[in-house]
């Protein structure tokens, strides 16, 4: 067992990479084999993740490294923070895979889709496990490359345009990140991520360069995290199939950016250097602005997925904001929101996809009375929406609570104002939808109804994932104080991050 331990990180990546590569070579008609491979990959990955979780919880270091660049090996490292992201993406991958199999039933080019889908998750997990900046950069770019075919998958003029824009933003961001990483590498090589950062000795001598590096890194990561001026790709990328949107928004892309910001702030620069460099406040302002802007724009969208997209822009910046506050409580809020937002947003996207796939509904105004036709889906949607607003006992409440506490802790009272305002806006764009679903009568016939199941409201593969994630949203909220909740895990991480001295 212990002999396996150092190889766990690479095994976790390979468990989705290898099935992905095999799936590429499959014929369109080999559906069974493809499904089987997908499921095998997920299961194996979950087993490996569980093993790693046990090890990390027991305080063991799990590191795998390959020689790569001089001064920067390819390091895969399992610590508490990376595990948080790994677990999130593995579990949500399971849900999304099932969902995608149901969603794409009968559509062409599925081998290509599932191949890239697996590559995408491999890249995300690799990114989570990256042990230094160079490795992170590598997986960050691979993630761009793996998600691009998914965004463009439908092959319509609209998705081509969206994919071009997506590439323009993300490759640009990738280049900025690369420049920043190279700058830091020139200054100190690329050591492993260390709690508390490794740049403190340089703050006095290379202040300006470090500030520049911070700006470059945040700009590069901000593209994926959809920070304010760099968010333009996200609403357009909505043309992708629903499982892709779900994955992009909840797990892979935006979270990769947010996760990167966490890593850069805590494990590369460290709280102390950030404070001395005076770079946290601009980031905080930017994040706050993005939160309000995203919510405000979401209000005006009539397309369900577009509204969810702007909501994502807003919600992901909670994570950034929590990181930028530099206080332990805010950090807990940020980390736990990373998980909670992922689960809630994926629920919402699954539901939106169900509406579109079963009844052909894309517009909010067509949702009238859908609660009667699709009660389970609508229930999941409602729970997700309530979570987004931050109503107890959902998971969203927990994270917002901690973020508010964090703001008070670092004496940034105005941020609480931001949270309240954003919460109100969230309510303003989610509650009317919920109202329409449950409390209004159907006026028009469904745009494009399909009979996907005899007994259930829709195909079971489409129905079970949102129910599963809905359950998670509730459980994470209700059992937040138990040992295995994301909250206590986040507290563990923060304890390790902030107690380095």
């Amino acid at each position: 067992m212990t002999a396996l331990l150092p190889y766990l990180p690479i095994l976790i990546i390979l468990s989705s990479l290898l099935p992905g590569l095999i799936i590429f070579s499959l014929k369109e008609t080999q559906i069974k084999l493809r499904t089987w491979l997908n499921m095998l990959g997920v299961t194996v990955k979950l087993i490996f993740v569980w093993l790693m979780w046990r090890a990390v919880k027991a305080g063991q270091e799990v590191t795998f490294s390959l020689p790569f660049l001089p001064g920067a090996d390819l390091v895969l490292h399992g610590d508490a923070l990376s595990l948080l992201f790994v677990i999130l993406s593995s579990i949500l991958w399971l849900a999304t895979t099932i969902y995608a199999i149901g969603y794409l039933e009968g559509s062409p080019l599925r081998s290509r889709f599932f191949g890239y889908f697996s590559l995408c998750v491999s890249a995300t997990v690799g990114l989570a496990l990256s042990g230094n900046l160079v490795t992170f950069l590598l997986f960050y770019e691979l993630l761009t490359l793996a998600t691009f075919p998914l965004v463009v998958h439908r092959g319509t003029a609209q998705s081509l345009a969206a994919a071009k824009r997506y590439l323009g933003y993300t490759l640009g961001g990738g280049v900025l990140l690369m420049f920043g990483v190279a700058l830091l590498h020139m200054l100190t090589q690329s050591p492993d991520f260390t709690p508390g950062g490794y740049l403190l000795p340089l703050v006095a001598s290379d202040r300006a360069l470090l500030q520049l590096a911070f700006v470059l890194l945040i700009a590069g990561l901000g593209v994926k995290a959809a920070l304010l001026p760099l968010h333009g790709w996200l609403p357009q990328a909505m043309v992708a199939p629903a499982p892709v949107s779900a994955l992009l928004h909840a797990v892979a892309v935006v979270k990769a950016g947010a996760f990167g910001i966490i890593r850069v702030v805590y494990d590369v620069f460290g709280v102390q250097s950030i404070q001395q460099l005076n770079v946290a406040t601009p980031l905080m302002l930017l994040a706050a602005l993005t939160i309000l802007y995203g919510s405000w724009r979401a209000l005006a969208q009539q397309d369900i997925k577009k509204r969810l997209a702007y909501s994502t822009i807003s919600q992901v910046s909670y994570v950034t904001l929590g990181v930028a506050m530099l206080g332990p409580l805010a950090a807990v809020g940020a980390l736990v929101h990373l998980v909670h937002q992922g689960v809630m947003k994926i629920t919402l996207f699954f539901c939106a996809g169900n509406y579109a796939e079963t009844l052909g509904i894309h517009d909010i105004r067509e949702l009238n009375g859908v609660g009667k036709r699709m009660p389970l889906t609508s229930l999941a949607f409602t729970v997700g929406a309530l979570g987004m607003i931050g109503i107890p006992p959902t998971a969203g409440f927990i994270s917002k609570w901690y973020l508010g506490l964090g703001a008070a802790e670092v004496d940034q009272g105005w941020l609480i104002g931001v949270f309240v305002l954003s919460g109100l806006l969230n309510a303003a764009y989610f509650l009317p939808v919920v109202y329409r679903i449950w409390f209004t009568q159907q006026r028009l016939p469904w745009p494009h109804p399909q009979q996907l199941s005899k007994k259930l409201e829709t195909h079971w593969m489409l129905l079970s994932p949102p129910l599963f994630t809905m359950l998670l949203v509730l459980l994470m909220g209700l059992f937040a104080s138990t040992d295995i909740s994301p909250l206590s895990w986040s507290e563990l991480i923060v304890e390790r991050e902030f107690s380095y001295d």
Partner: protein, 473 residues
Amino acid sequence: MSLALGLVIIPLLAALLMLLWPRLARGLQLAAALLCTILATMLLQLVQQEGSQQLFIGGWNPLLAIRWQADSVTALLLLLSAVLHLLVSGYALAVQQRDKLAAAFWPLSSLLLASLQALWLSRDLFNLYVCLELLGMVAVALVTLSGDKAMRPALHYLLFSLFASLCYLLGVALLYGAYGALDLPLLQGQLQANSLTAAALVLITLGLMLKAAWWPLHLWLPAAHAAAPAPVSALLSALVVKGPLFILVLVWTTLAPAAFLNVAAYAFLVCALGALLLAGVAALRTPYSKTLVAYSTVAQLGYAMLALALMLSFNLPVFTAALWLFVMAHALAKAACFLSIGEMQQTLGVKKVAQLKGASQTMPLAMFAFAVAGGSLIGLPPSGGFLAKWVMLLGLWQAQQYFLLLVLLVATLVSAAYIFRVVVLAFDRAEPTAPDFSPQLLPQWLALLPALAVWAMAFFSMPLLAILQQELS
């Protein structure tokens, strides 16, 4: 040194035998390519263990004889050309019947390898002239394999190439007139900074820049490279333009007096900027897919120029490493690009970029090869192109060249734009161009091989850099 000799003589003899017995051509080609690859690997090991090797041909005094030298860079280049020759030969074998590849391809490509290997090894100014001329003639002869449509580009290429060789020869003649020697190591440090030397160096540089298609002297390249058959374009873009580049680096790093270095660096810098930005934009605008790849060659050579300029103005070893890394990464990636584009052109029967629509459905492997190779051209990790760019970035940060960093940023985005211009189109599902015949798998895989090789390069960065560092110490 007998290894190096084998590297030149084996393809040469193979070519002669192919001409005598055309029936044996394919077998001989493959055998020679394999043998050369093995020998080149052995030579690289030898050089790593025992340091650089020298040979005075005929055993005469250094003043009289032609000198061969196999240092680590040379050994790497020898290996690179042998490997690429092998890969391209494999592809050519796979498609020869379908594409009606002329029988002359085999001896000519073998001669190309022989002349390249002779060029890498030579350290004699006049012998380099003969090698250059040889290389130019083989290249033109290979371009003509495409038949009628290639004749005019081929003739233009030949005229440019001849003019360039004459410029080079004139420069060499002036140097000989002034210093009475042709051997590079002997001339090292001898040159004085006067107008005669300046004129000689300018002429040599001009000739070599023309041959290497350095912006703004690249005008012959896109037409010639686009007109040739795919395996030939691959060889031309990957290897042939690197020959003059190699000589240029040799001349400027060993010969040029220190007083000239700054001026030259500025000149190269301007050319590099022009290449990176303007040629990149040209690649973005051309309607033809092969021309796009050819312009990308011009643009990518800009990185090599930039590295050379930086090498001359800053005494940082990273730039030397960056230069050769760029050369190698570009060679592999460009070969893959040309082979995959050629494969798609043949199968789909199209020439324009816009007609590659939907290629990721009809020919996924070839498109994948193009994208993967393109990733290296852009500099995405973990590819050879990334490695080169990374090394250069470190150097630029170290030298605090913020303007150049900005240029590099823009150039990277431009290259990403022209690569993804093709890749995005390939995902278009509306009315994809239907293949003329069912796509063949083997050639597509063979086109993918160099692309995979360039991505593998990043994982050998430590040994590669070690080899390149050995050169500097």
